[in-house]
Symmetry: C2
Subunit: 197 residues, 2 copies
């Protein structure tokens, strides 16, 4: 594994567990198995490294949008979106946590993304939802709040994974429990918006 990728992987883990302020370059270096000075060869500052980590997460986020667009109707589109977001939460929990921490701290590094890319993405999806509503395929639910609910629920399984694990007897969710989670979330949402046939 190349040093740069090694550093990014270690940084994502450390930032997600300690936050930007709590993370130290020394700890990231230790996790990566490299001397601290080497980090500064690839990334000039701690903030530059952090920004790179957040950006790579943002890309993964946007990929889940594809399922939304080409869907026939809400049951298919939102159902697939929930599946995709839940899978991301399971496979990249550290990334989701870094994003959450960044936003909670008022997005000091990626505010421009919120104001441009995310804003456009949200408006596009809201338009699709409104079309579905006007076509009578689902109830008249406020599109913005519906999206917030979807984000909140799916990301909760990453961001609050430790709490869920603790309440699950200290064990991570099993495959069956993940399936149960996905089907429960889909069931409640799709029925809740009147998109179940």
């Amino acid at each position: 594994m190349e040093s740069e990728a090694l550093i990014l992987s270690a940084a994502e883990k450390v930032f997600s567990e300690a936050g930007f302020g709590g993370a130290t370059m020394q700890l990231i270096a230790d996790v990566a198995g490299l001397p601290k000075a080497n980090l500064h060869y690839y990334f000039p500052t701690k903030e530059a490294l952090y920004r790179q980590v957040v950006q790579s997460i943002f890309q993964i986020w946007l990929q889940a949008a594809d399922t939304f667009d080409q869907a026939e109707g809400p049951a298919e589109g939102i159902g697939a979106y929930i599946d995709a977001k839940m899978e991301i939460s399971r496979r990249f929990p550290s990334g989701s946590k870094v994003w959450a921490t960044e936003v909670m701290h008022r997005a000091p590094v990626i505010q421009d993304y919120l104001e441009t890319t995310l804003l456009e993405w949200t408006a596009g999806r809201a338009t699709i939802i409104r079309r579905w509503i006007s076509e009578g395929r689902m109830d008249a639910v406020n599109p913005d709040h519906l999206l917030y609910m979807l984000w909140a629920t799916t990301q909760h399984y990453a961001d609050f994974g430790h709490q869920i694990e603790t309440l699950n007897g200290g064990q991570p969710l099993s495959d069956a429990q993940w399936e149960e989670a996905k089907s429960t979330v889909k069931q409640v949402f799709l029925k809740g918006i009147g998109a179940l046939t």
Copy 2:
């Protein structure tokens, strides 16, 4: 306002905006309008101050549980619970953020609370939900995942308030928008679990 309360209020704000690692005792002192040394008169260490902040939040969390218990059925109980949690998110967003950050960092300070109080609380509420299901008052939805969905959604409005504000044109949600949020969340959940008459 007494110095101790002043310090706790300032600490909650600073911790929620910077995280534990990013927060500095000097900044908390400045926000509180007191010299730094004075903080150490009331709280021996930074961690002791942080722990106090998290504990006070935990109390507010538990208060919202009362609505759940004495309810006639799910429509009333869960509806009131959503109202209460949404109101907490609006009035104490800093507290919710501190809690979220603490849990995301694997709860280094309040793990014991997760394992005792929260575990018991969750089990009690799950029992109530199962009773409602067996009485035919709502669909057979997994109680644990339903609770996670409720927590995730309601707290999202506090934890990701900055993101929501940005997507709302840079403006905080108005009174009407908060009402819209509450009614949307209640509508989707109550219909989603089959608890609407």
